[in-house]
Amino acid sequence: MALPEQKQTATEARLSALSLPEGGCLMAARRAALSRVQTMGLPTRRDEYWKYTRPDTLVDAAVPTAEVFVSDEAPMFDEFDRLKIVFVDGVFDADASDDLTLEGVSVERLVELAAKDIHWATDLYGVLEARGQTPVERPLAALNSAFATDGVAIHVTGKPSKPISFIYKHLDANSDAILHHVVRVDAGAEATILENGPAAARFNHVMEIDIADTGTLHHVRAQGRDHERRAATHVFARLGTESVYKSFTLTVNGVLTRNDQVIEITGDDAVAHVAGACVGDGDFHHDDTVFITHDALNGESRQVFKKVLRNGATGVFQGKILVKEGAQKTDGYQISQSLLLDDDSQFLAKPELEIYADDVACSHGSTSGAIDEEALFYLRSRGVPVGEATDLLTLSFLAEAVEEIEDDAIADAIVNRLEGWMARRR
C-alpha cells in the first residue's frame, strides 16, 4: 500500500540523509529494518499514537540545534561504583569508559560483534523491535535498527557485582545520535543497568532486552537536564517464565522526550514494572507511551507514571495493557497522574485496556490535579514555608513512582535530583 504523499516525502528525505553502516553479521537485520521503515514510513501528526506529540523534529533530516548545557551539579550516579560505558554525542569513548570486563557479564561493542557471529545477539538485534511493530507501528525504532552507528551487546550470565552504567554526554550542539543496545539476561542471572545523560542534540535510542526464565533486570534511566535536547527512546523487552523486569525513568527538563516501552510477557509468573517521574516547565514536552502484552499465565505488570508540570509544560501518557486469550490470572495495574502547578500546563492521557481472558484483575486510573490546598495550609500552619511545603507535597506526589526503584541508594539519588530541580525553581 502506498504511503500518503507527505509521509513518503518526509521518509525519503530522512533516509537519503543516512547511510547503512557496514554491518557484518548484523547486515541482514539492518536491511530488514530499513525495509520496515520504507513500508511504514516515519511518523506524522496524523498517526494514532502521535496525536499529542509532534514527531517532525524527531523525523526531519536536519537536526534542530541544542545548545550544550553546562551544569554545576555532579553527574547523576557519579557516586556509585559501576561499570562505566561512555558515549559522547553517540560515539563510544574508550578512554572515558572502564575496561569492559566484569564477572557475570560480557559487554561488547556492536562493531566488534558484527565481525564475529555471536548467536544470541544476532538472534536479538532488530528482532524484538520487529515484534514490537504490531499492533502499533514504531518506525523510529526500525530506523534505529537500520542505521544505529554504535551500541553494545550485554550478556548477563551471572550476578555482576555492580551496575552496568551508560553515560551519554552531549558536547556538540548539532549532534544526531543513533544508538542501539541489545541485552540478554540468562536464566537465574541478575543485573542492574543505569543510563544517564542527554546524549546528543537529538537522540534516537533503542534497547532490546531478552530476559530468560528466572532472570532479573533492573533498569534505571535519568534523562539529562539539557533543556533543548530531543530524544526518542524505545525499550523492547521480552520476559520469560518467572523473570523480572523493573524499570524507572527520571526526566528532568527536555523540550521533547518520547519514551516508548514495549513489553511482552511470554512466560508464566513473570513480573514487569515500568515507572517514570518527570518534572519540567515552559516548553517541556514529555511523552510516555507504554504497551504491555500479557501472553502467559499469572503475569504481573505495573505502570506507574507521574508528571509534574509548570509554566505551560505538556505531559503525555499513552499506556496499554493487552491481555491475550488464555493469559489467565493476569494482574495488571496502571496509573498515570499529573500535578499541574499552574493553569497553563496540560496533561494528555490515553489509558487503554484490551482483555481477552476472563480471569484477570486489571485496573487503570489517570488523574490531573493541583497541589492540595488543605495539605499546604496544614504544613504552613506548622511553620513550613510555602515553597518548602509545596516541594514536600510535590515529592510525595512522585513517591509512588520512585518507590518502584528497588535499590534505596539509587532511589535516594533520584529524589536528590528532584529536590534540586524544585529548589532551583523556588
Binding site: D372, E373, E374, A375, F377, Y378, L379, R380, S381, R382, G383, V384, P385, V386, E388, A389, L392, L393, L395, S396, F397, A399, E400
Partner: protein, 252 residues
C-alpha cells in the same frame, strides 16, 4: 499575649459575615475556653488567626506578643509561636509523619535563627513525647494522619504541639471523638505544657474536657461574637442548661 480586638471577618467568596466583632485577650500562663453553639464562628476564629485562605478580615486586629498576626503568612505566625490543633486534622498521603514533624521543627528553628535539631536528638525527643501520648512507632512511620482513627488524629495534633512547644496554643474541639482514656492522655499532654509563658485557647462543647484542663476563663461565643465571659462555673452552667438562658439574657 494574644490580643484580639473588634475582629470582623467575612467569607472571601460570598457576602457572609461570620465574625462580627470578637474581643478577646489571652494572657500568658492562662487557659481560656470558648464554648458556643454550632456555627457560632469558633473554628472560623481559629482559622483566621492561623491564616487560612478564604476569609476576609474587614475590621479589627489580632496581635501575638507584638506580631501582627493578620498581616503575616501562616508559616510566620507559626514561627511567632502560634499553634492550632485542627478540628479536622488533614491527611497527607506520601509524607511520613516523622518527616512532617522534623520538617516543621527545623523550619521553625531556622525562622528563629536557631540550629537544626540533629537526627538523633529529634528521634529521642519524638519517641519520648509519642510514648506519653501512647502513639506507637507504627503511627509515626505512616503518612500524616492517613488511616488514623479520629482519636489517633487528635493525639497526633497534641504530639505536634508537644514537639513544637508553641507560645500560644489553640485547640479546636480536640476532645471530640476521643474515648475517656484518650481524653485523659490529651489533657495530660496539655497540662504538661502549661507554664507561665504559654497561653491556651481551648474550644470545646463539653465540660468534661474542662474537668481535666482547668480553665481560668470561659467565654461563650454566639453568632460571631463573644457574648459572655466568666469563670469555670460558666462551663458548668452550659453543661446543665444549654445556651438558651445565656442567649436570652444577652439578647434581652
Amino acid at each position: 499575649m494574644l490580643e484580639i480586638k473588634n475582629l470582623h471577618v467575612k467569607l472571601e467568596e460570598e457576602e457572609k459575615q461570620i465574625l462580627k466583632g470578637v474581643d478577646l485577650t489571652v494572657e500568658a500562663g492562662k487557659v481560656h475556653a470558648i464554648m458556643g453553639p454550632n456555627g457560632a464562628g469558633k473554628s472560623t476564629l481559629s482559622y483566621v488567626l492561623s491564616g487560612r485562605d478564604g476569609y476576609e478580615v474587614t475590621d479589627g486586629e489580632a496581635v501575638l506578643d507584638g506580631t501582627d498576626l493578620l498581616d503575616a503568612e501562616p508559616e510566620e505566625r507559626a514561627a511567632a509561636g502560634l499553634f492550632l490543633a485542627f478540628q479536622y486534622p488533614v491527611e497527607i498521603p506520601g509524607v511520613g509523619n516523622m518527616t512532617f514533624l522534623r520538617t516543621a521543627m527545623n523550619a521553625q528553628r531556622k525562622a528563629r535563627g536557631e540550629e537544626e535539631l540533629s537526627a538523633g536528638d529529634f528521634l529521642k525527643l519524638v519517641r519520648e513525647k509519642a510514648k506519653s501520648l501512647k502513639i506507637d512507632a507504627d503511627m509515626l512511620k505512616r503518612p500524616v494522619n492517613v488511616g488514623f482513627s479520629g482519636g489517633e488524629k487528635k493525639r497526633n495534633e497534641i504530639l505536634q504541639m508537644a514537639m513544637l512547644e508553641p507560645k500560644m496554643c489553640i485547640l479546636d474541639e480536640t476532645d471530640s471523638g476521643l474515648d475517656v482514656d484518650a481524653m485523659k492522655l490529651v489533657a495530660e499532654g496539655v497540662n504538661a505544657l502549661r507554664d507561665e509563658g504559654r497561653g491556651f485557647l481551648v474550644i470545646t462543647h463539653y465540660q468534661r474536657l474542662l474537668d481535666h484542663i482547668k480553665p481560668d476563663v470561659v467565654h461563650i461565643m454566639a453568632d460571631g461574637r463573644i457574648v459572655k465571659t466568666g469563670g469555670p462555673e460558666l462551663a458548668l452552667e452550659v453543661e446543665n442548661n444549654g445556651y438558651a438562658d445565656i442567649l436570652a439574657e444577652v439578647n434581652a
